[in-house]
């Protein structure tokens, strides 16, 4: 099967499942599909550096969590009518997604700039460990900083608004999340084909050669890392809105591992890989969770089989013998 056809099938499923669920009045299934779209968006962010850039970041939970906390903090301040800060200028909270998203993107992009600037000085296994360590740093900070709930997390009771749409309606919220996912997919596709994307690809394959044509790999990789962090941060803000709750769990290394699983399960460096991976993950969680409380044993076994035998993930297996792209 051609990869293009597989992508079309994934898109059709992503759209058809919630619509069918809506017709059958199964709001829980729509929520699951929303979760898929949000996780997929986080995965699209990670895939940009991990797949296209070859940079194995094990700390993307940092951006996911920061995006989530940005949404949670703004919303809870707005709900309590407390300004975020009153000096030197008054900064109010907000319950508008159109305000929250840019803040989440900005905060996580800034964090990605700092983390990336330091981490990209290292290579290979050191890079994996350093990104992990930065995420852990934020995790422990969130746990021990009491103002925003500390270990218990922070809940806010009203889902944030988006223009005039009723965001409490599951299908509307799904549409918003899915729209953002498609925009992110479009953006990464355009970037991948651009001059910048080619340079990023070259930085993965042969940094020396890239340097010799006059482009420093460091700068290219840093920009990619910032874009990647920003996309994952946006997903974090949506995830906070889905649950109306943020907790340090979003920053934990399990979250980093899960985002990585979405990417690998679907197929590394495949544009639609994270969507397929997130969909499969949620499906497994739901199905296996019904069979046994210890479903993660089966998930672990399946993951082992995928890593050892089915390299290239789901899309890789289906699109066998096709080149990437």
């Amino acid at each position: 099967m051609r990869e293009g056809w597989i992508n079309a099938v994934i898109l059709a499923l992503l759209a058809a499942v919630p619509l069918a669920a809506w017709a059958l009045d199964e709001p829980f299934v729509i929520t699951l599909a929303t979760k898929v779209a949000i996780f997929a968006l986080a995965g699209v962010g990670l895939n940009f550096v991990l797949g296209f850039g070859g940079l194995v970041s094990f700390g993307h939970a940092a951006f996911f969590g920061l995006g989530g906390y940005a949404a949670g903090i703004l919303a809870s301040h707005a709900a309590n009518y407390e300004p975020l800060m009153s000096w030197p200028f008054v900064l109010e909270g907000s319950q508008q997604m159109l305000v929250i998203w840019p803040v989440a993107i900005g905060v996580s992009a800034l964090a990605a700039l700092v983390i990336g600037a330091l981490s990209l000085r290292t290579r290979g296994v050191y890079f994996i460990m350093v990104t992990l360590a930065f995420a852990q740093m934020l995790y422990y900070f969130a746990i021990s900083w009491p103002s925003y709930g500390g270990e218990d997390g922070l809940s806010f009771y009203v889902r944030n608004g988006f223009l005039g749409v009723n965001t409490f309606d599951p299908l509307s919220f799904f549409t918003i999340c899915c729209g953002l996912l498609l925009m992110a997919l479009g953006l990464t596709d355009v970037l991948r084909r651009s001059r910048f994307g080619l340079a990023l690809e070259a930085a993965r394959q042969n940094p020396q050669r890239l340097l010799s044509v006059g482009i420093r790999p460091y700068g290219v990789q840093l920009v990619a890392f910032v874009i990647s962090g920003a996309l994952t941060g946006l997903a974090g803000a949506l995830y906070a809105d889905l649950n109306r709750f943020v907790s340090p769990n979003m920053l934990s290394w399990h979250t980093s591992g899960e985002i990585m699983i979405f990417v690998i399960l679907g197929g590394v460096a495949r544009l639609w890989g994270p969507v397929a991976g997130a969909g499969l993950y949620i499906l497994l969680e739901h199905q296996l969770g019904g069979i046994s409380d210890y479903w993660q044993v089966y998930l672990g076994l399946l993951l082992l089989v995928v890593v050892i035998f089915a390299r290239g993930g789901v899309i890789g297996v289906l699109a066998r013998k096709q080149d990437h792209d």
């Binding site: 290292t122 930065f134 740093m137 422990y140 746990i143 900083w145 672990g300 050892i308």
Partner: protein, 305 residues
């Protein structure tokens, strides 16, 4: 704040650092020799703690428990190496991270399946409980002193093993040139299994020793695993000496930071706020240390090149 209190905290930091060394030594050996990132190392720590708690609870003997911890962790390590890990040596780090992450899920949930979700308790053996008086009027728990002693003893033994024995020679040769020592007739597969089992046994021992101080529960290995990674990254991956220095540095920084920072902020802040800010910063301190080391020396303190 008295000198005695500080001395106690220094001993606590030393004990913590020594435990981290037992974890980090296995990780750094496995990475140095086989080039493998093993996230499941924390699971072997957990296996050791559970084996010790189960056997000590059943037989009433802590020594038997410790031996069970060593045996169980080494056996689990050897089994995992033969069944899974062996297929990962030639793969890139991404596959290794993912496969060993999968192993964590299997180990953690499997342990929960067998032992349930409630923590087990492992008490300090009566002969080692109580406190001793150290010179200078420092009263310190005997058990923690014994841990420091065991840890330093094992560190010494490990340096001897790597530096002075035939096995150590092979391990070092395997680090330098895998094909060459295979050509010289060393069974490289068996060597790798032995190294992995050795690292696993050290992790299991650490788990059993710490299990008496903290509770024995599923997921206990993961925070320690991440700290052990911080240790080997600071020390330079593959270097046992780096692991020892890094472990002591991390143990001291963490313990003294948690103790001194809140007190330090208390000088110019109100107590409640000072303890909040101080403990928040203290929990980040080792990661700051690691970032600083990597900025100055991207391959760690004792890493090559």
């Amino acid at each position: 704040m008295t000198a005695v209190l500080i001395a106690e905290q220094v001993l606590n930091g030393l004990q913590y650092g020594v435990m981290l060394f037992l974890m980090a030594a296995g990780l750094t050996l496995v990475f140095g020799v086989m080039g493998l990132i093993n996230l499941a190392h924390g699971s072997l720590y957990m296996v050791g703690a559970f084996a010790c708690a189960a056997v000590a609870g059943w037989s009433g003997s802590f020594v038997l428990g410790l031996m069970a911890a060593l045996a169980a962790a080494a056996a689990a390590g050897a089994l995992v190496e033969v069944v899974v890990i062996r297929r990962l040596y030639a793969r890139d780090h991404l596959d290794q991270v993912l496969a060993t992450f999968a192993l964590i899920l299997i180990f953690s949930e499997g342990t929960r399946w067998v032992f349930g979700s409630f923590p087990l308790f492992l008490s300090v053996p009566p002969a080692l409980s109580g406190a001793v008086m150290l010179p200078g009027g420092i009263e310190y728990p005997l058990y923690r002193l014994v841990i420091i002693g065991i840890g330093l003893g094992i560190a010494g033994g490990l340096f001897w093993l790597i530096g002075r024995t035939r096995l150590g020679m092979r391990i070092r040769a395997g680090e330098a040139d895998r094909e060459m020592i295979a050509a010289l007739g060393v069974n490289i597969d068996r060597l790798y299994t032995v190294v992995f089992a050795l690292g696993a046994a050290l992790a299991g021992l650490a788990g059993a020793l710490v299990g008496t101080i903290q509770s024995v529960q599923v997921g206990m290995g993961e925070p320690v695993l991440i700290l052990a990674f911080v240790v080997i990254v600071i020390g330079g991956i593959g270097s046992i000496k780096g692991a020892l220095v890094g472990a002591l540095l991390v143990g001291m920084t963490d313990t003294l930071g948690k103790f001194l920072l809140p007190a330090g902020f208390g000088v110019f802040m109100e107590p409640a706020q000072a303890s909040a800010v101080g403990s928040a910063l203290a929990s980040m301190l080792i990661y700051v240390l690691m970032a600083a080391v990597l900025v100055l020396r991207p391959r760690g303190l004792f890493g090559d090149a």
